[in-house]
Each structure stands twice: as structure tokens, then as C-alpha cells.
């Protein structure tokens, strides 16, 4: 794993596999803006990490988890619409993060790397973090797959059939926070939502069951990572945005191909 390109591909594909099933749930549960808010709060984590002197990745994961907890409690008690609560938290934490970064002395922070990700700078410890943390998040998601899906289809049915609705909601939010906190180094604050929802949206064209859509999202995500990195390699474009462009391109392609496939089969 000496080659930075190899590390980028391994890290990116690991991330895509984790983001696929999570992204499917985010699309089904209409939580895209929630994910976006967590990502915005991560910048505050970078600043806190630098100020306190811990690894910025720990800082990012910690603030994402804290933001998820605040939202889980706050949304229930608020009179405001959830989009308002999310928007306020997203932008105030982002602003707070920027201000805090200005007070970090002596270290030049590459803001662009956190906003748009720096997949080509992925190191071996990032891959370990993604493999272990992402693997753990994925395992928990698979373990609670059936009840979480039932909750997504109908909270009433789920609750009537003794599924612990509130606990599941909270655990899912915290898992999302963990995944997003880990992903920011690779695709950045502003692009993580795209990596979560675009591959899932592409997979929707072909899926007949929720499970097919989740696996499809992982595959579309991996393909986007590979296409994005090679695009970046060949035309020297920034890697994170190139991955998102590839994902969007695959979505458009799917939108054209899927109806044709259906017509041929019919």
C-alpha cells in the first residue's frame, strides 16, 4: 500500500460499500438534509480537534455524534419544522467551525481538503479506521435491518408489533454520524451527502426489493469512486468532486438504460 493511488482506491471503495446501504436508508427515510447537517458540524470537530490537540478524525466523529444527539432530542421538543432546526444547526456549527479554525495558532489548515475531501491523501491509518469503524457500522445496520425497514415502511405497524421504534431511530442516527464523521476526510463536508444519496438513487432504477437497492447503491458508489479517481488522474481534476460527478453521470445513465432494459425484457 505504498502507492497513494492504491490507497485512494481501497479507501474509496471501502467507503462506498459502507455508504451504499446507509444511503439507501437515508433516501427512504428522507434524511438527506439530516446527513448534510451532521457533515457541516464536522468542521467544528476539526477545529476542536486541533485546539484540544487530538486527532482531527476523532474530533469530527465526536462532533457528528454530538450533533446527532442534539437533533434527536431537539427535534422532538421543537415547535419549528425539522428543516428549520437542521438548517440552523448546520450553518451555525459550520460558522462556529470556521471561526474556531481562525483561532488555531500556528497550523495552516487546508480548508479545501475538509470541504471537498482529499482522497489522494488517504493513509494506512485512514484505511484501518474505515475498515474497522465502517465495518462495525455496517454490521450493526445489518443486524437491525428488518426492524429498521419495518419502521421505515410504517412506524405504526412496527410499534404495534413490539419493535422499539425510538431506540432504533436513535441508533440509526448515531450510526449515520459515525459513517459521516469517517467519510469527510475522503469526500469532504460538502460532498458526503452526494456520495450517500446519488448511488442509492441510481440503484432505485433497477431494484425490486430494498436489499437489491442497498447492494446496488454500494456497487454504484464503488464504480463512482473508481471512475472519479481515474478522471482525476487523467485530467488532473480534484478527486472528491470528480467522484461526485461520476456518481451523477451514472445516475443519468441509469435513468436512460433502465427503461430500455425493461422494454427489452417485456
Amino acid at each position: 500500500m505504498d502507492d497513494f493511488l492504491t490507497r485512494a482506491v481501497i479507501g474509496g471503495i471501502l467507503l462506498a460499500f459502507v455508504c451504499g446501504p446507509f444511503g439507501a436508508f437515508i433516501v427512504w427515510r428522507r434524511m438527506a438534509f439530516f446527513g448534510d447537517t451532521l457533515a457541516h458540524s464536522a468542521l467544528l470537530g476539526v477545529a476542536l480537534g486541533l485546539l484540544v490537540g487530538v486527532d482531527v478524525r476523532i474530533g469530527m466523529i465526536a462532533t457528528c455524534l454530538a450533533a446527532a444527539l442534539i437533533l434527536a432530542i431537539g427535534q422532538r421538543q421543537s415547535r419549528l419544522g425539522s428543516d428549520t432546526v437542521l438548517g440552523m444547526l448546520a450553518h451555525s456549527t459550520l460558522a462556529l467551525g470556521m471561526v474556531a479554525l481562525a483561532f488555531v495558532q500556528g497550523i495552516a489548515v487546508d480548508l479545501m481538503a475538509y470541504l471537498f475531501g482529499d482522497i489522494l491523501a488517504v493513509n494506512v491509518s485512514d484505511i484501518w479506521l474505515l475498515g474497522l469503524g465502517g465495518g462495525l457500522a455496517l454490521l450493526v445496520l445489518i443486524w437491525m435491518w428488518r426492524p429498521l425497514l419495518a419502521l421505515t415502511v410504517s412506524p405504526e405497524i412496527a410499534a404495534a408489533e413490539s419493535i422499539p421504534v425510538e431506540r432504533l431511530r436513535l441508533v440509526f442516527m448515531l450510526l449515520m454520524a459515525l459513517v459521516i464523521g469517517m467519510a469527510i476526510k475522503i469526500v469532504g463536508v460538502l460532498l458526503i451527502t452526494a456520495l450517500l444519496i446519488v448511488p442509492a438513487a441510481s440503484a432505485r432504477f433497477f431494484a425490486r426489493t430494498p436489499e437489491q437497492m442497498a447492494i446496488g447503491a454500494a456497487l454504484f458508489g464503488a464504480a463512482s469512486v473508481m471512475a472519479g479517481i481515474s478522471l482525476s488522474w487523467h485530467v488532473d481534476s480534484p478527486a472528491g468532486p470528480s467522484i461526485v460527478i461520476s456518481a451523477a453521470g451514472l445516475f443519468l445513465l441509469s435513468g436512460v438504460v433502465a427503461p430500455l432494459m425493461r422494454r427489452i425484457r417485456a
Binding site: V27, V153, A160, Q212
Partner: protein, 295 residues
């Protein structure tokens, strides 16, 4: 008699200043069919949600038989287009089952052709049947149906009641059904509870067979499945649902000498003992006056 499956005692719940449940006591026993009727906005769904634990009451107590298995059929199920879901996958939503078992229960509800169809492309009636099929796989002790006959004509209603009765016969379960139809209920109902923020009255339905006019109106097939519930209220509700003085409502005669004139006020509850006056009138009341007639 064994302990009830679910029992609510003295349930009180307010949303803001609006009291939705006013000291409600209700219990469902094993194998019993209970129909909960009441006008729109009477709080029927809220009551059921409270009994199921989906809604917390401000006061009162809900006791459930430990480990009670409940099959719940919601009023509406809108599965988003964005969630791909075949009928087969929906049937195994909370519990796994083989394809042949799924096919079997779909045949039982008369929807055998839809197993590979997407849920979002089913008609309303098909969705209803698929939801019933799912409860057959769950084998619940209590089947809860929220307005299963909404938007269904009388023939379809009779068919649905027969289906529910078949399901109950097979599973040997209790049934709690909500209906906004104040007069036509499932003939096999053991107990009809008329509910408007509190239990107004309760009793057993008469079969349509006893009413020749209805029999010809509905046809013989439907007449066996549908029952008529004759209310026995001693108070009325105003538009906001508050109790006002008065003898009866719903526009039919209740003047059969069983008034409890002293029961007005907010603490008012009629227990099952109020199933009075349906079969033993001293003065003969013309049947035609006692029942509600469709316009």
C-alpha cells in the same frame, strides 16, 4: 374467565386543551370481536393507539398480556415510490416466511396473483388484502384493523367481513376493528362500543336478517355478514364533541324507557351494562323507526 388481552383503565388524554380520551375503560378478551364505532374525530384511532402503546395517556393504565402478539392493519399504507418493495417482501416485513407460505396466505385473501407486484402499484383493495395476508403469517392473538371498510361499498364490506371472520376462525384470535360507520357493523361482532371521547354505549348488533328491508337492499349474501347496531344513548354531543343534555342522537328513536338521566357531565362512562333495550322492549317500537335508513 382469563385475564383480558389488553385492558385500559381510566384513560385520560388531552391534546392541548382538547380532551380526546375522557376516562375511558375498555378491555378485549381472547377470541372476542370488538367493533369500535364513532364519528370522525371521536378519538377512535387515538384510543387504539393508546391501547397499543403507540400513544402515551396522561392518566390511566394500559395492561397487556405479557408477550401479546398483535397484528396491526393501519387505515392507510402509503409505501413511498422510492422504496422498492414487492408484495412477497412486504409479507415478510417483520417476520420471515417461505415463498410457498406467502403464496398460500395470498390465496386465502384472494390476492394470489400479486406476489411479485410492487406494493406501490397495488390498488387500495389489493393493499388491504395483502395487509390481511401479512397478519395471517404473523399468527397474532389480537388483530387490530383501523377502518378496514373505508371507501368500500356494502357488498365489498360484506366480503371483507367474511374474510376477517375466516381469518379469526383460522387464527383463533381476538379482533378489534375501528369503523366510522355508526350503524352497519360486522354481524359476528361480540361487542360494539360506540365511542366519542368516552364510551357512549355498547352492546351487540342485530343481524340484517332481522330486517327484511335491508335484506332486499343489500342482497342475501351481504345480509349475513353485516349487522346493525342500534344505539342507546342518554346524551348528545355538540359539534365540538362535548356532552350536552338530550335524549338521543343519530336521528332515530331511542325513546325506550332506559334513561340514566343523572349521568351527564364529563366523568360519564357507560360500561358494557348499557347494552340495554335492544331485545326486550315493553312497548313495541316499529322496527322501521328504530333503525337508520340509507338515504
Amino acid at each position: 374467565m382469563t385475564a383480558p388481552l389488553i385492558e385500559g383503565r381510566g384513560l385520560i388524554l388531552s391534546f392541548g386543551n382538547e380532551r380526546v380520551l375522557d376516562n375511558v375503560t375498555l378491555s378485549i378478551n381472547a377470541g372476542e370481536i370488538m367493533t369500535l364505532i364513532g364519528p370522525n374525530g371521536a378519538g377512535k384511532s387515538t384510543l387504539v393507539k393508546t391501547l397499543l402503546g403507540l400513544q402515551q395517556a396522561d392518566q390511566g393504565e394500559v395492561t397487556r398480556k405479557p408477550g401479546l402478539r398483535i397484528g396491526y392493519v393501519p387505515q392507510k399504507l402509503a409505501i413511498d415510490q422510492v422504496l422498492p418493495m414487492t408484495v412477497k417482501r412486504f409479507l415478510t416485513l417483520t417476520r420471515s416466511a417461505s415463498r410457498s407460505d406467502c403464496q398460500k396466505v395470498l390465496e386465502q385473501v384472494g390476492a394470489s396473483h400479486v406476489i411479485d407486484t410492487q406494493m406501490s402499484s397495488l390498488s387500495g383493495g389489493e393493499t388491504q388484502r395483502v395487509m390481511l395476508a401479512r397478519t395471517l403469517l404473523l399468527r397474532p392473538e389480537l388483530l387490530v384493523l383501523d377502518e378496514p371498510t373505508q371507501g368500500v361499498d356494502v357488498t365489498g364490506q360484506a366480503e371483507l367481513y367474511r374474510l376477517i371472520d375466516d381469518i379469526r376462525a383460522e387464527l383463533n384470535c381476538a379482533v378489534l376493528m375501528i369503523s366510522h360507520d355508526l350503524h352497519l357493523v360486522m354481524a359476528k361482532t361480540d361487542q360494539v362500543v360506540c365511542f366519542n371521547r368516552h364510551v357512549c354505549c355498547s352492546g351487540i348488533p342485530e343481524t340484517v336478517r332481522q330486517h327484511p328491508e335491508y335484506r332486499s337492499l343489500f342482497g342475501n349474501q351481504a345480509a349475513d355478514a353485516i349487522g346493525i347496531y342500534t344505539h342507546a344513548h342518554d346524551h348528545e354531543h355538540d359539534l365540538a364533541g362535548h356532552i350536552v343534555e338530550g335524549g338521543h342522537d343519530h336521528g332515530h328513536s331511542h325513546d325506550h324507557g332506559h334513561h340514566h338521566g343523572d349521568h351527564h357531565g364529563s366523568g360519564h362512562v357507560h360500561g358494557p351494562g348499557c347494552a340495554h333495550g335492544h331485545h326486550h322492549h315493553e312497548e313495541e317500537i316499529d322496527e322501521k323507526d328504530r333503525i337508520w335508513r340509507p338515504e
